[in-house]
């Protein structure tokens, strides 16, 4: 028995070592830490698909400074503790560039961990690139020099959304429904505050929270929205919580406009189409497919050809990696210390429109043009549909970079 065990162990370690990809010593390695199993797997997988696509494209052109880009994926199961284990694993694997996006709770944990690690390990600093977590705390009270955020935070997005709502005089009654955790509360609180400032005549007729991904039947919530007489609903819901909410609304025949953050996320457009709500669901993002900008559309076509069954992507990941590669080339080094210096204040033409965005030095928040769009049947000048539904996003408002800028409370501590 014992010999068999020893033999197996030996065999496994030999084959295991042989099976490891021959990691070139001088590769540019990026650790991708996001959910690849469990409830968040669908969104985590999309980010990974896209990073691999970007790496392949760059490597085909000779890599970054002659180095091949390698993506190492770590499954954090959307769990902050597991994420820290993964960051440590990545560091042990010799990786010093870390990217993560899903879940602000995860992001806050990593931001804090990386800051402490860098303080204790001078000369081995790690840089943390956040492509999707948008709790304002990340770039305000909890801000860190080693953290860079590419998606507009909750405050910025709601600033833009409420400005849009301000001009729509037919909106009289707004209902808020959000997931009961830090992100959902920050959406609700910020929306209430901004609406009171900009449109004191609007009545907030409901401010509901429901447990995160635990609700199967949203019809009682829809009944409540209906009873409140709301004409508009604002929600930060994502994933199943968004899909089931919108489908329940469609079933009950609730006719309101929906202002969302993540209607375009995996499964969202499918649900909106099933609920049959043409041009009633709005989302705010840093870009959509149907912006008439050829360089982006060419890349999107190539991406969809590669992943026809998962035709969803994040423009912000293109911005993030583009700026990272630019910083490395400008610094002539992939040392995170030098990358961070170059990233601070960097100006960059954004993926979706080519309009220039910038990484604010004060808090490491990327500012970029934002787009409010609605989902509906494709018009003549709209080449892309979403998730093979035949419906696509149509831009109804573009928010210029200068109109997205909010002050920050960040007091950045820079290393000496």
């Amino acid at each position: 028995m014992r010999t068999t065990f020893a033999a197996t162990a030996l065999a496994l370690s030999v084959f295991g070592a042989a099976a490891m990809p021959a990691a070139a010593e001088d590769a540019l390695k990026i650790a991708y830490i996001d959910p690849l199993s469990g409830g968040g797997a669908s969104i985590g997988q999309i980010g990974l698909n896209q990073l691999k696509f970007i790496a392949d494209a760059v490597n085909a052109k000779g890599g970054v400074m002659g180095k091949k880009v390698e993506i190492a994926a770590y499954d954090n199961k959307l769990n902050p503790q597991q994420s820290l284990v993964d960051v440590q694993k990545a560091i042990d694997d010799g990786i010093r560039i870390i990217t993560q996006g899903n879940g602000s709770s995860v992001a806050l944990a990593i931001e804090d961990f990386v800051a402490k690690y860098n303080e204790r390990n001078p000369g081995k600093e790690v840089i943390y690139l956040n492509y999707a977590a948008i709790d304002p705390a990340l770039t305000n009270e909890k801000c860190s020099y080693w953290h860079f955020a590419w998606d507009a935070n909750v405050g910025v997005k709601l600033q833009a959304l409420t400005n849009f709502i301000k001009a729509k005089k037919d909106i009289k009654k707004v209902y808020l429904i959000d997931q009961d955790y830090s992100f959902g509360h920050s959406v609700a609180d910020t929306a209430v505050r901004m609406l009171k400032e900009k449109r004191p005549d609007i009545a907030i007729v409901g401010n509901e929270f429901h447990p995160l991904v635990k609700v199967t039947d949203f019809s009682p919530y829809i009944a409540k929205i209906k009873a409140s007489g709301a004409d508009t609903v604002i929600t930060g819901n994502w994933g199943q919580d968004f899909a089931l909410l919108i489908k329940a609304a469609g079933d009950a025949g609730l006719k309101v406009d929906w202002y969302t953050f993540y209607a375009g996320g995996a499964g969202g457009p499918t649900a909106v189409k099933q609920a049959n709500m043409p041009d009633q669901v709005f989302q705010i993002t840093e870009g959509v497919n149907n912006i008439d900008y050829k360089p982006a559309q060419d890349v999107i076509r190539a991406y969809f050809a590669h992943y026809p069954n998962a035709p969803v992507y994040y423009p912000r990941l293109f911005n993030e990696t583009g700026m990272l590669f630019k910083a490395i080339e400008e610094a002539k080094s992939d040392d995170p210390v030098k990358i961070a210096v170059k990233l601070e204040g960097m100006k960059y033409p954004t993926f979706s429109s080519g309009d220039e965005g910038f990484m604010r030095k004060d808090d490491h928040q990327f500012f970029q043009p934002l787009y409010i769009s609605t989902l509906g049947p494709l018009a003549a000048n709209q080449p892309f549909d979403e998730e093979h539904t035949g419906w696509g996003w149509k831009v109804v408002a573009q928010i210029l970079v200068q109109d997205t800028i909010l002050p920050t409370s960040c007091k950045m501590k820079r290393p000496q």
Binding site: G38, G39, A41, S42, Q45, I46, D180, E208, F209, H210, P211, V213, K214, V215, T216, D217, S219, P220, Y221, I222, A223, K224, K226, A227, Q240, A243, L244, K247, D251, A252, G253, L254, A266, G267, T270, A271, K273, Q274, N309, A310, V312, E387, H388, T389
Partner: protein, 315 residues
């Protein structure tokens, strides 16, 4: 007020029946084999995906028949070649076996259909509002869901209480050796029961798939609520599960409709300092904790009435 009560009752009954639809197979397997089948939700997911795949080629209705048969067959194979061997090692082994099975099935589904939600639609023949009350539509598909659920309940009850097979199944649970001596194929009976349980899960999947979201993590997301139904109803009791489903559906729906909190009920009686001390507990509304209430019910039932509402035995 009348409006809220009426609509909540209706929503509660509809949701309750959906729960029973999903829990019936679990109850069948537990009450007749004594196996707590952790893979139940996985069979439910398989049903949804098979239903989806079949509906794309030959439509929803053939899917409603073929998918449960396929999944029932898979269930029987699992019983014959897996569970039966594990059975000798007792309940813990069975539990672990079905638990492991959930991961295998999830992985297979991901390999076949990916991780993104698929576009599984309600069939056009049922895709219209059945009726409208207080300007809220009730889709025909939900009424269909309810009818199927009631039909399954009636059919199971009849099969267990009024047919020979039901008699043999019940006898085989408590006295397998005796039933075997009488010339009945006990192993075959258990295999059939497991197949029926898996098939029922698949029916739930085919029907709930278009109504909810069909994706590779739907088994995981469905999760513990079904165990709540079975435990609250009384382990192994069909009528109990039926009653518990309705109860949970109604409790949850009415709770969501309520904006009451401790603060609104006793606000004037308690001093400001005590209120500040209680903090969140003081201000949280019933609506906010509604989806947690079934689990509270589970805990209370386990403490005060471990046999459940209509349970036959205490385990």
């Amino acid at each position: 007020m009348v409006e809220i009560v009426f609509i909540s009752t209706l929503n509660g009954v509809l949701y309750g029946m959906l729960l029973f639809l999903m829990a019936s197979g679990l109850t069948v397997i537990f009450s007749m084999m004594g196996v707590l089948n952790f893979a139940h939700a996985s069979f439910y997911m398989l049903g949804a995906f098979f239903g989806f795949a079949i509906s794309r080629h030959v439509g929803f209705w053939p899917g409603l028949v073929i998918a449960p048969l396929l999944v029932g067959g898979i269930g029987m194979a699992v019983e014959r070649y897996g569970l039966r061997r594990v059975h000798r090692h007792g309940h813990v082994a069975e539990l672990l076996f079905t638990f492991g099975l959930t991961f295998v099935i999830q992985q297979l589904v991901e390999m076949a259909w990916g991780k993104l939600p698929v576009d599984y639609r309600v069939p056009p023949s049922l895709d219209f509002p059945a009726f409208t009350v207080f300007s809220t539509n009730y889709p025909t598909f939900k009424i269909f869901e309810l009818l199927i659920s009631v039909a399954i309940f009636a059919a199971l009850l009849l099969a267990v209480k009024r047919t020979r097979i039901g008699l043999i199944v019940q006898a085989a649970l408590s006295h397998p050796d005796m039933v075997g001596m009488l010339g009945h194929n006990v192993d075959g009976v258990f295999m059939l029961v497991f197949g029926v349980g898996a098939g029922l899960a698949a029916i739930a999947g085919v029907i709930a798939g278009p109504a909810l979201v069909t994706q590779s993590n739907m088994a995981e997301l469905l999760g513990p609520i079904l165990f709540v139904v079975v435990v609250v109803g009384g382990l192994g009791s069909l009528s109990g599960a039926f009653a518990a489903s309705l109860l949970i559906g109604l409790v949850q729906t009415f709770a969501v409709a309520s904006n009451a909190s401790l603060a609104s009920a006793f606000g004037s009686l308690v001093s400001q300092r005590a209120q500040a001390y209680l903090g969140d507990i003081w201000n949280v509304t019933v609506a906010q904790i509604a989806p947690i209430l079934p689990y509270l019910l589970l805990v209370l039932i386990l403490i005060f009435r471990p046999r459940g509402l209509i349970g036959a035995r205490d385990s």
